[in-house]
């Protein structure tokens, strides 16, 4: 159980990134800013976490990247693939189980 939780906690950035990108495609800076805004400053993921996660998700086929011009600059936009949506579903399910478990313990 402890092992499952440890693995899950290391997947939190993955969950946040997949969730936000499932709504709309974004580029790196936009994503970092969105995580902070949507989480009301609860999460301020460092670039050192975001970019390796993005590239790893892309390599595993959960994300796809494309070049698009924005504000006069060519940016790399990321969006979620069908495989990414399945991964998001699995991570969300894990998160719900952990959240319920913690709520139960705290409420006991």
């Amino acid at each position: 159980m402890a092992k499952t939780n440890a693995a899950f906690m290391s997947g939190v950035p993955e969950l946040l990134i997949l969730r936000l990108l499932s709504r709309e495609e974004m580029y790196g800076y936009q994503l970092v800013r969105a995580i902070r805004v949507v989480s009301a400053d609860a999460f301020d993921l460092a670039e050192g976490v975001v970019y390796p996660t993005l590239h790893s998700l892309e390599a595993s086929g959960c994300l796809k990247a494309r070049e698009k011009e924005s504000d006069g600059r060519k940016r790399i936009y990321y969006s979620v693939t069908a495989k990414g949506l399945k991964r998001l579903e699995a991570l969300t399910g894990n998160w719900e189980r952990v959240r319920q478990g913690i709520s139960s313990v705290l409420g006991a």
Binding site: Y27, G28, Y29, V32, A46, E47, G48, V49, Y51, P52, T53, H55, S56, A59, S60, A65, R73, R75, I76
Partner: protein, 247 residues
């Protein structure tokens, strides 16, 4: 004033074997990210120096970022075991080519025999068969060169350390220069039925009835590669304008 310098970061990723295209894209992303942070800091009232320092600090430790990128990158066999692949690919590809070449030639001889028919007289090699032999001889020389160029091309695209592709080149030359195709044509005059053989080694080798040192093959291979070197350098510069060689 702290500024973002991505040169070391880029080289670290390249040396780890992450493909050139991916590294360039990631560096470009970080440059854009940095520019966005500087712009945001400027909008918040920081002067240029403060904004640059703040943005560079916000991006964080580039060595740590590089380590994370390397740890999470999927790298092919060539990138994970460059020396092994450099030493393994040339002999394997050459063996396959030689086997294919011998099969082709033996098949052609058999076909010729079937066309001519065996009427008890010794067959003479027709012109087309001699032509095929010449083509195969040239290919036997060209294939090591082509394979060596392919190794350099793949390695320089992936920006693998120079010692790997230099090793690959010399290994290819070493193998290529030790091979000699030898055919003795059927001769009704002295009753010779003809034969085909592949000489492997670095002693004096029989080529077309005369003796030619294997070193000559080496010189021919090196000469061709030197000519190709210029083309490769040109392609490398064209592919990566502004990038400097390394390794």
């Amino acid at each position: 004033m702290k500024k973002l310098d991505l040169t070391h970061y880029r080289n670290t990723l390249l040396e780890a074997g992450i493909p050139f295209r991916k590294v360039l894209r990631n560096v470009r992303e970080l440059k854009d990210h940095y520019a966005d942070l500087v712009q945001k800091a400027g909008e918040q009232g920081m002067d240029e120096q403060e904004a640059s320092s703040w943005a560079a600090e916000k991006i964080g430790d580039l060595d740590l970022l590089a380590r994370e990128m390397i740890a999470r990158s999927s790298r092919g066999m060539l990138h994970r075991h460059p020396m092994l692949m450099t030493l393994l690919l040339p002999p394997v590809s050459l063996c396959l080519f030689i086997a294919l070449m011998m099969l082709l030639f033996v098949g052609a001889v058999e076909l010729n025999n079937a066309i001519e028919g065996n009427n008890g007289t010794m067959l003479q090699a027709p012109l087309w068969l001699k032509g095929l032999y010449m083509v195969l001889k040239v290919l036997l020389f060209a294939v090591p060169v082509a394979a060596a160029i392919a190794i350099v091309r793949v390695c320089t695209r992936g920006r693998i350390l120079r010692r790997y592709w230099v090793t690959g080149l010399f290994f290819m030359l070493l193998i290529g220069s030790g091979l000699n195709l030898h055919v003795s044509w059927p001769d009704s005059g002295n009753g010779d039925g003809g034969s085909i053989g592949l000489a492997v080694g670095y002693a004096l080798s029989p080529i077309d009835g005369s003796l030619a040192p294997a070193q000559l093959s080496t010189l021919r291979l090196i000469g061709t590669l030197m000519l190709c070197g210029g083309v490769l350098m040109y392609m490398r510069r064209r592919d990566a304008p502004g990038e400097t060689g390394r390794g």
